[in-house]
């Protein structure tokens, strides 16, 4: 079996098991939980199995190269004289053919980055499945709806990370937007939640559009540059393999990158698109925990990581990512410290952390001089991301739990630890990770980030600003931790009862559920926070787990493990100084009553304002274009036709030649006398139509037109067309008889602009006539003097072996028109009757029957 199938099964497993829970009886809650949990478990196992089989050779190489880098050293790890990563083989992808004719296939790339993300998604997904049981309790309605949607979400996210084919990734990317929309708007009857879900959907959907544009542009631009025989780069692995041939300063490539960056920035809630993320708090907490720690918002970070090794060398890359990331980081921290709702606090710290991750990828593309060679300015991306997941998910889980049982408003949580010690402990332990206290992975990760900035300052002193931003953000995080702990433990400095209690707090207290499933409200959080401390105290264990991913991620950076906390403390420098400064000042700020007033993020007004502008602007545009006047629409259609035809005549000289040759063929006009006379009859009745006032007379004149055309068909021996036209005339007369009496009284209108209309009519008439003339020459020989018409005629009844289009069978009928309609071009006919059916459905729904419906 193709290994790609294993990955595909892994991706689809959560969706399938989620959907299967729908088949279980409503009350079989435990079975549902177990079945839903099976999805991420299967995904986890299959990802490991599939990836190791795909990338065995690749990873073995990498292992050989870096066996000596098992432990990390901040200062002396780049001792080799050459770039040690230059000769790692490229990651390969495996393909499941899907539509080979269109070059579409399912391609999966299982390099370190995607495997890491996939394991993160499925691992935390498992915890979320369990937590959802604790959170929703034995509520069959909620759980029955929740697991399928969560499975959909998980599949979408897994699909993003393992897709090699860029458009395939986009498909899953949009799936995350849709599934998160469903989850954020979970409470269908809460108008605010639905509105926020729309806000998230619009924002990330817009980013998805930009990403789509960027991927198309990159593929097309690379094709224009002659890459891959002009087919362009449509796979990440192709991009990695061919990046040296790609002209990165080509404006198309740069534009493609910018569009892709917009996609990443909206998904990862970078300023100024960050407002949707705190809004996404309307979702139930299991969703928030998943969304913020492992999924959706990380998709943008993942994308930045995907493009870093290749497009990262574009000049704008570091400045864009570092700039926006830094602003987002600072803003998120500053707003977070002023919030009162636990979920909002953590949402803004997530925004802040996402900014940090983006900035980190920006730094990752910088190279600084180190002795006689250059090196990337940063280590470790996966640690930074995993570290965030391992404190943010527990924070949300505990926040949801305590909000469920007590309140989510921090000012009402004084002494809550003594009431719910387990949840309180998870909150405090995870909060310590948020504060990046020594002993957690978070501390080392923050240290590494500061270290990277410090190295970047040797490239440009502007990076000191980023350093200051990071310190301020860290102070905010520490202060949040201090307040949280002081409040929970009822220490001085806690956020005691606040006069303006948060208005959003409408959560009423629930009785805690007892037993095993009741404990599920905090156990997943606890399990997730443990790695923070294990990794913090035993970095070699952490490295053993995450290093493989780092190594095989096909980066020439990000390849060294977490340093131990003792190493960092015994080797002080700027980074340590900044960390300690942040810790110290954070503790002070945490106990001070500063920044305690709950504020509203001004950016929350951006989306409503933009939405209002779009709606009203669209309304104005709509009123201009869609006037509801039929004659204006007709005019636009006909003028467009005229313009197109004129353009065609100007650009294609063959059309004039075709006209003259057709005209030249008609030498003996008197041979066509019957046709000409009937044509004159058509023209005469058509000209009379606008001249009369009465509707009935007009209908009759129109009928005269139609019946003359029937005559023309008969003269030129087209009985099928004549019959059709005849029946059509009959039906239309019937329709007119019915409809005429319904029309309002025909008042004589002042015919303003009549001359212009006459001119336009004549012009369009001439052009239609001209097109008919050209159509006469359209029957070009397709091969060996065979025209399409003659091929159809010959194959009509039985197949003609001599024909270039020959099939062994013909249509089985001697009426070639009908054979074309139902056989040769049968698919067109099918499309047409479908359109007719849709039109009929339109009529039936616009004009609902007032008669008692007929029962069949």
């Amino acid at each position: 079996m193709n290994n790609a199938w294993i990955i595909l099964f892994a991706v689809l497993a959560p969706l399938v098991t989620g959907m299967l829970t729908l088949l279980l009886p409503r009350q079989a809650i435990t079975l549902k939980v177990l079945l839903a949990a099976l999805g991420p478990v299967v995904a986890f196992a299959f990802i490991i199995a599939g990836s190791s089989r795909i990338n065995t050779e690749f990873s073995q190489h990498a292992l050989d190269h870096h066996a000596d880098h098992a432990t990390a050293h901040l200062d002396d790890h780049h001792h080799a004289g050459h770039d040690p990563f230059a000769d790692i083989p490229l990651p390969t992808s495996e393909v499941i053919p899907w539509m080979p004719a269109l070059n579409l296939s399912l391609a999966f790339n299982a390099d370190g980055l995607s495997v890491f993300f996939a394991l993160l998604v499925s691992g935390i997904g498992l915890m979320i499945v369990l937590y959802a049981r604790g959170y929703f309790g034995p509520n069959a309605d909620d759980l029955g709806r929740f697991y399928p949607t969560l499975g959909f979400f998980m599949t979408a996210m897994l699909g993003i990370v393992v897709s090699d084919y860029t458009l395939q990734m986009l498909l899953f990317w949009e799936m995350t937007s849709i599934s998160s929309f469903l989850l954020i708007g979970w409470d269908r009857y809460d108008k605010k939640a639905v509105k926020l879900a729309m806000q998230a959907f619009f924002t990330t959907g817009l980013g998805g559009m930009a990403l789509f544009g960027g991927l198309l542009l990159l593929g097309v631009a690379s094709g224009n540059q002659g890459l891959l025989d002009g087919n362009g780069i449509w796979r990440w692995s192709e991009l990695y393999a061919n990046v040296t041939q790609l002209d990165l300063n080509d404006p198309w490539v740069v534009s493609a990158f910018l569009l892709m960056f917009i996609g990443a920035a909206t998904k990862s809630a970078q300023w100024p698109f960050h407002y949707w993320l705190p809004g996404a708090m309307a979702a139930p907490t299991p969703v928030s925990a998943f969304l913020h720690s492992a999924t959706m918002v990380k998709a943008g970070v993942f994308l930045a990581g995907r493009i870093l090794p290749t497009l990262g060398t574009i000049d704008a890359f570091p400045w864009l990512l570092v700039g926006l990331g830094g602003v987002t980081m600072l803003l998120g921290g500053l707003i977070a410290i002023q919030q009162h709702d636990l979920k909002r606090i953590f949402a803004y710290t997530t925004v802040s952390q996402l900014g940090l991750l983006m900035a980190m990828y920006g730094l990752g593309s910088l190279r600084y001089a180190h002795g006689d060679h250059t090196l990337p300015a940063i280590d470790l991306d996966l640690t930074q991301i995993a570290n965030h997941a391992f404190y943010k998910a527990p924070l949300f889980i505990a926040a949801g739990a305590i909000g469920h049982l007590l309140s989510r408003d921090i000012t009402r949580l004084t002494g809550a630890f003594y009431k719910f010690p387990a949840i309180g402990a998870v909150l405090i332990l995870a909060g310590y990770g948020l504060a990046a206290g020594p002993g957690t992975v978070s501390f080392q990760a923050k240290e590494l980030f500061l270290y990277a900035i410090y190295h970047a300052t040797s490239i440009s002193p502007w990076f000191w600003i980023l350093m200051a931003m990071t310190v301020v953000t860290a102070i905010c995080n520490v202060a949040i931790f201090i307040r949280l702990t002081a409040t929970l433990l009822d220490l001085p400095g806690g956020m005691g009862p606040y006069a303006e209690a948060h208005a959003d707090d409408h959560h009423h207290a629930h009785e805690p559920e007892r037993g095993f499933w009741g404990a599920m409200i905090w156990i997943p959080g606890f399990l997730l926070v443990v790695p923070q401390y294990v990794g913090g105290l035993f970095p070699s264990l952490w490295n053993q787990v995450f290093m493989p991913g780092e190594r095989f991620a096909y980066y020439d950076s990000f390849s060294h493990g977490v340093p131990s906390v003792y190493y960092l403390i015994t080797h002080p420098g700027w980074p340590l100084f900044c960390s300690m400064l942040a810790l110290g000042l954070g503790i002070v700020v945490g106990f001070l009553p500063a920044f305690r007033r709950a504020i509203v993020d001004i950016h929350d007004t951006i989306y409503p304002a933009v939405y209002w502008l779009a709606v009203s602007g669209g309304g104005i545009l709509f009123r201009i274009v869609q006037t509801g006047r039929l004659r204006q629409y007709t005019l636009i259609v006909l003028l467009t036709l005229t313009a197109m035809f004129t353009a065609a005549v100007i650009t294609d000289g063959a059309m004039i030649a075709a006209t003259t040759s057709t005209l030249a063929a008609y030498t003996n006009w008197y041979d066509h006398l019957p046709g000409i006379m009937l044509g004159l009859l058509v023209c005469a009745s058509a000209v009379c139509i606008p001249a009369t006032e009465s509707r009935v007379v007009r209908v009759l004149l129109l009928g005269a037109c139609g019946f003359s055309v029937v005559g023309i068909y008969l003269v030129y021996r087209a009985p099928d067309l004549a019959l059709t036209q005849l029946m059509f005339e009959v039906i239309s007369v019937l329709l007119f008889v019915v409809v005429l009496r319904l029309l309002p009284e025909d008042k004589p209108r002042p015919y303003r602009g009549k001359p212009i209309r006459i001119v336009i009519s004549i012009l369009i008439g001439l052009i239609m006539g001209w097109m008919t003339l050209i159509a006469a020459t359209a029957e070009r020989p397709i091969a060996d003097d065979q025209t399409l018409g003659s091929v159809f005629v010959r194959n009509s009844a039985y197949g003609d072996p001599a024909s270039p289009l020959a099939t062994e069978r013909g249509g089985g009928g001697t009426n070639v028109v009908n054979v074309i309609l139902v056989d040769f071009r049968g698919w067109d006919t099918f499309g047409e009757i479908t359109v007719l059916a849709i039109a009929a459905i339109g009529v039936w729904s616009i004009l609902p029957s007032r008669r008692k419906a007929v029962t069949s």
Partner: protein, 140 residues
Amino acid sequence: MTTLILRISMRLILPIGLVFSLYMAFKGHNEPGGGFIGGLMAAATFAIFRMSSGAAELDKILPCHPRILVSWGLGIALVTAIAPLAAGEPVLRSYLWDIYLPGGEALHIPSAAFFDIGVFLVVIGICVGMIGRFSEELEL
């Protein structure tokens, strides 16, 4: 329009019209005609009948909503179109069956005939439905 003359003559016109429309629809593969024309013809017959005798009478001879006709027609056409896929052939691949009737005559049945029946039903359903719906506006 429900005059006595029209109503009485419809008794004659209706069966002739319907039989002729069927004839048109089925002979269409070899001579002028076909599902579309036959459908229009049947629809015109039904429409005139409805005008002469009223909606209630039409319900008696066409005891289902026209949308049933449309959906059956679309369904038949779709099945005809995709049936060859089951045999690994392209969509709408045509087959020709020869059935030898007693007396030595052969009846040719091309698979496209079923497609034509689908078109026939769709066209009848649409035309009858639309004209009926517009007529209701008049009657009420």
